[in-house]
């Protein structure tokens, strides 16, 4: 799986749904991405990429694209 596939899959696994136009996804834009969904997403991303987010990044993760930007800061061993 490519990085982007892994990343997208983490979203779909967290929200337990197939997501159309996933690159347009933002926090609260689907019912599944609420505060509970956000917790799932954070822990899934941390597990998939074996990282621990800083607190600021946990709150800044407000969209699919923002998440990509945030992940650039971390050493993903790619």
């Amino acid at each position: 799986m490519t990085f982007l596939e892994k990343y997208s899959k983490a979203f779909e696994d967290s929200f337990d749904t197939k997501i159309e136009n996933i690159e347009e996804l933002t926090y609260q834009s689907i019912p599944e991405w609420d505060s509970i969904g956000h917790l799932f997403l954070i822990s899934n991303l941390e597990e998939v990429f074996n990282i621990t987010f800083d607190l600021d990044d946990v709150t800044d993760m407000s969209s699919f694209n923002k998440g990509l930007e945030i992940l650039e800061k971390y050493d993903l061993g790619l």
């Binding site: 926090y27 609260q28 609420d34 505060s35 509970i36 956000h38 917790l39 954070i42 822990s43 941390e46 621990t52 987010f53 800083d54 607190l55 946990v58 709150t59």
Partner: protein, 358 residues
């Protein structure tokens, strides 16, 4: 809607009283006007008193009894913008409060909560032992104050573990495994006061188990709810837990469903602190005039976060006293206070009865 982004960039306890008053003087009348324009019930309440919307002095801003949320939908937004309905845990036989949140308000509460808590724990994120059952956060439709608090604090957790099974039996093997796995790291414990006491402390004592939680920080809140008869003082709570678990870092917080996010956390000196996002006023029970420092009265809470519902200025059913302003030894600016008890039979006779609608 108020734009609080300039406050979100500041340290949560960095404003002294003069600076804070200046900001509230400007923002509070806007907030009152916002609710007046967007919530008909709120407008009626102010109109009945011929309220002057230009009033800007903190102490003169109108306050609603917190029990009003049990009877009325005090929302300042369109129905289609309702994103979450937060229900207070409410004690037996009482109606529950319903707090209506739109997306912005929910997100704002979460941001402020993290800001306040991170000021107390220099920690960033740590393993977190949640002193509750995983059931509490399973149902997203029925969102209780407790589930909201657990979710809000959970963002601090990296690895997470729930300490109790669904019947609130301590899952000792899971807890031990979790503690062992993270030995040497600072572990954050979070739970509701009465749950920590009844289900953690009491079970440990009964089973004669001593846990080693010396590396942990416990943050607890929510008071005693249904366990008023079993309530112990904060000092006894701390010393008992310390004896049983070697837990030294224990911090209480004061907050309520009606003002989620802008909580008041206990500092190392044992005092609750107002952040830049909220304020308290202690009032005499007889004439609602402001109490002096050290005088016990009813706690009024003011929060800039309450925008999608009229919870910006509320008279609680709690008693407390102001300890001081700007000069706590912990270094935080602003007012600091203690909670001393509950207004007697507060659910039966609220000032809400004096308000007539329609």
């Amino acid at each position: 809607m108020l734009d609080l982004s300039f406050l979100l960039d500041k340290d949560a306890f960095s404003f002294d009283n003069i600076r804070k008053r200046a900001i509230y003087k400007e923002l509070l009348p806007q907030l009152v006007k916002h609710h007046y324009d967007n919530c008909l019930d709120y407008k009626k309440m102010l109109d009945v008193q011929s309220y002057d919307l230009s009033i800007s002095i903190l102490e003169d801003i109108p306050f609603l009894p917190v029990s009003l949320f049990k009877k009325y939908e005090l929302k300042s937004m369109l129905d289609l913008d309702v994103y979450k309905v937060l229900k207070s845990s409410g004690t037996t036989g009482q109606n529950v409060s319903k707090i209506y949140l739109d997306k912005n308000n929910a997100a704002l509460q979460q941001k402020v909560l993290l800001k306040i808590v991170s000021d107390f724990c220099q920690i960033t994120r740590n393993p977190m032992l949640i002193l509750d059952t995983s059931e509490t956060i399973k149902n997203r439709l029925n969102f209780s104050a407790r589930s909201a608090a657990i979710l809000g604090f959970s963002l601090f957790g990296t690895d997470k573990c729930f300490a109790f099974d669904n019947d609130f039996k301590l899952d000792l093997s899971a807890v031990n495994l979790f503690l062992e796995k993270h030995r040497g790291k600072q572990i954050m414990l979070f739970g509701f006061t009465f749950i920590v006491w009844k289900y953690l402390y009491k079970q440990l004592v009964m089973q004669g188990i001593k846990l080693d939680l010396s590396d942990c920080i416990l943050i607890h809140g929510g008071g005693w709810k249904k366990l008023k008869d079993e309530a112990v003082s904060n000092t006894e709570f701390k010393s008992s837990l310390k004896k049983q678990t070697s837990l030294k870092n224990i911090y209480d917080y004061y907050g309520m469903a009606e003002q989620t996010g802008s909580i008041y956390l206990e500092c190392s000196e044992g005092h609750l602190h107002c952040s830049i996002f909220s304020e308290i006023i202690i009032r005499n029970a007889t004439d609602f005039s402001e109490c002096n420092i050290g005088e016990i009265g009813i706690v009024q809470v003011v929060s800039l976060l309450a925008q999608s519902y009229c919870g910006h200025s509320l008279l609680t059913e709690d008693l407390g006293k102001l300890i001081g302003i700007d000069d706590c030894k912990c270094g935080r600016k602003g007012k600091y206070f203690n909670i001393t008890g509950r207004v007697e039979k507060s659910d039966d006779r609220g000032c809400s009865d004096t308000y007539e609608f329609n």
